[in-house]
């Protein structure tokens, strides 16, 4: 994919089924316009998201990842989103240190009634991704030998 006016980023959203997923649904049914860039994966709780999921999505070539759950204090399982918050926070910061643009890993709190906020979040994240361009972090010509030893 070449960067240019026609290029549209691809984004994976891990959305908590109790809130953000319903929020996305609401945005859809109330015909709010949000960028079609997001592919949604429903998770039982934002606390389900292993940072590994984020890395795997980037490895598969997605341009960005959004983790979205219930606002603090509103987790269906009491503390799932608090745990997600710590995990996402260290992941985001750590990936930045390793050299992954911070725009690629995003997180938000979106409740079931916040269809509008969901639309805004996706639009903002997409805009950020357009600014930094396609994810070419892991790309390389597919070949047999990646080591120096040979």
């Amino acid at each position: 994919m070449r960067q240019g006016t026609e290029w549209e980023p691809k984004l994976v959203g891990f959305l908590c089924k109790w809130c953000s997923y319903a929020g996305a649904d609401l945005a859809g049914t109330s015909r709010k316009k949000y960028p079609a860039n997001i592919r949604i994966i429903k998770v039982p709780c934002s606390g389900r998201v292993d940072p590994l999921f984020i890395l795997k999505a980037l490895r598969l070539g997605f341009d960005g990842v959004l983790v979205s759950g219930c606002h603090p204090g509103e987790c269906h399982y009491q503390t799932g989103n608090y745990r997600a918050r710590r995990r996402v926070a260290i992941t985001k910061k750590f990936l930045e240190y390793v050299g992954i643009e911070p725009q690629r890993v995003q997180a938000s709190w979106v409740s079931a009634s916040e269809g509008g906020k969901f639309t805004e979040v996706v639009a903002e994240v997409t805009k950020g991704l357009k600014e930094i361009g396609p994810n070419q972090l892991f790309s390389q010509e597919r070949q047999g030998d990646g080591t120096k030893a040979t």
Partner: protein, 342 residues
């Protein structure tokens, strides 16, 4: 006996340049503090000063940590399989140590046996090995206990021995002889040179002080094979990492894995290790789930099973597994302490 040649140490760069026209010359190289056999850069011969042995054994130049076996592609007619492009350039490994050259001869037995391994043999058969005798073996080396002398080898094509300001060059195989015949700029060695080389070889030999007793080793291991308490004790501090096997010049275990992305894929082979718990895991059970069974497998494979099959111990005493082990697990100590007397 063919006549022997010699070359000034300062002319090694010229020699390698000459050979570079015909071969991909690999020489000891230090990258990020890791000594490997890597493509020679065309000028640097400083390895003559620091090189003792590589961390990554030269087996990696024939049996790399990973390689593509083939790629596949699906279209309307079905799957199509394609072999990777073969590097037509022949490898010349300069400076291989006798222990590592012997290790390749040991690997050949498995890779040539019955079903030839085309990936290994294609690289191996076209390669030229130029051996360089050790002058400064490590304290972890024990090659002399395995019938190897640190400055002598019959497993290379040419053998170089340090005789001061010069190297004595011996032709070991016909391949080596041919190469020398085509190589200009070498001088004839004198009797004094040969005498010096002989002395140098003896000196090196005597510098290897670590010993193991291989006499009756197969029988000893067989006798204590079922001594679970012993193996548990021996295995206690092992952390089941892959260092001793991956960096062993004679270990050849491998794994095969596929990758598929959008109708296009490839099959890779990569190093595997009997130290890993999942190495033998089947869906329902695992015959070597316990660490002591895996440690026993490694020891017995080298000193009992391989000799039973190929009549040679699959260890050359290079000492890498001792030097690089995170917990200083020492094979020589283990073989010393086998709980049997034969």
């Amino acid at each position: 006996m063919s006549s022997k040649k010699k070359i000034n140490k300062k002319d090694i760069g010229k020699l390698l340049s000459r050979w570079s026209q015909q071969f991909t010359v690999l020489a000891p190289s230090m990258e990020s503090g890791v000594a490997t056999m890597a493509e020679w850069d065309g000028k640097d011969t400083s390895f003559l000063d620091w090189y003792r042995n590589t961390v990554i054994p030269p087996k990696a130049n024939f049996f790399p940590p990973m390689e593509e076996m083939f790629s596949f592609q699906k279209d309307r007619e079905g799957y199509h399989i394609e072999l990777p492009l073969v590097n037509e350039h022949k490898q010349l490994i300069f400076g291989i140590r006798p222990c590592d050259a012997k290790a390749l001869a040991i690997l050949d037995m498995t890779f040539e046996e019955a079903y030839e391994d085309p990936y290994y043999l294609a690289k191996r058969n076209s390669a030229v090995l130029v051996g360089l005798g050790c002058t400064n073996p490590y304290d972890s080396c024990f090659c002399t206990s395995l019938g190897i002398s640190p400055a002598e080898s019959t497993d290379v094509d040419l053998m170089l021995t340090d005789i001061g300001d010069q190297f004595l060059i011996e032709e070991v195989t016909d391949k080596g002889k041919e190469l020398i015949a085509k190589t200009s700029g070498l001088k004839e060695a004198t009797e004094t040179d040969e005498a010096r080389a002989k002395e140098a070889k003896e000196t090196s030999h005597n510098k290897v002080t670590r010993k193991i007793n291989t006499e009756g080793i197969e029988d000893k291991l067989l006798a204590c094979f079922d001594d679970e308490d012993y193996w548990e004790k021996i295995a206690a501090k092992c952390i089941s990492c892959g260092i001793c096997t991956f960096l062993c010049p004679t270990c050849y275990c491998f794994d095969i894995n596929d990758e598929l992305v959008k109708q296009q894929g490839a099959r890779f082979r990569s190093w595997d290790s009997c130290a890993f718990p999942l190495y033998t895991k089947m869906p329902m059970e695992n015959p070597r789930l316990e660490k002591w069974r895996r440690v026993r497998q490694r020891v017995c494979h080298k000193f009992e099973f391989y000799p039973m099959t190929f009549n040679v111990i699959a260890c050359t005493g290079c000492g890498r597994c001792i030097r690089l082990c995170p917990v200083n697990w020492d094979i020589t100590r283990v073989l010393e302490s086998l709980p049997v007397k034969v």
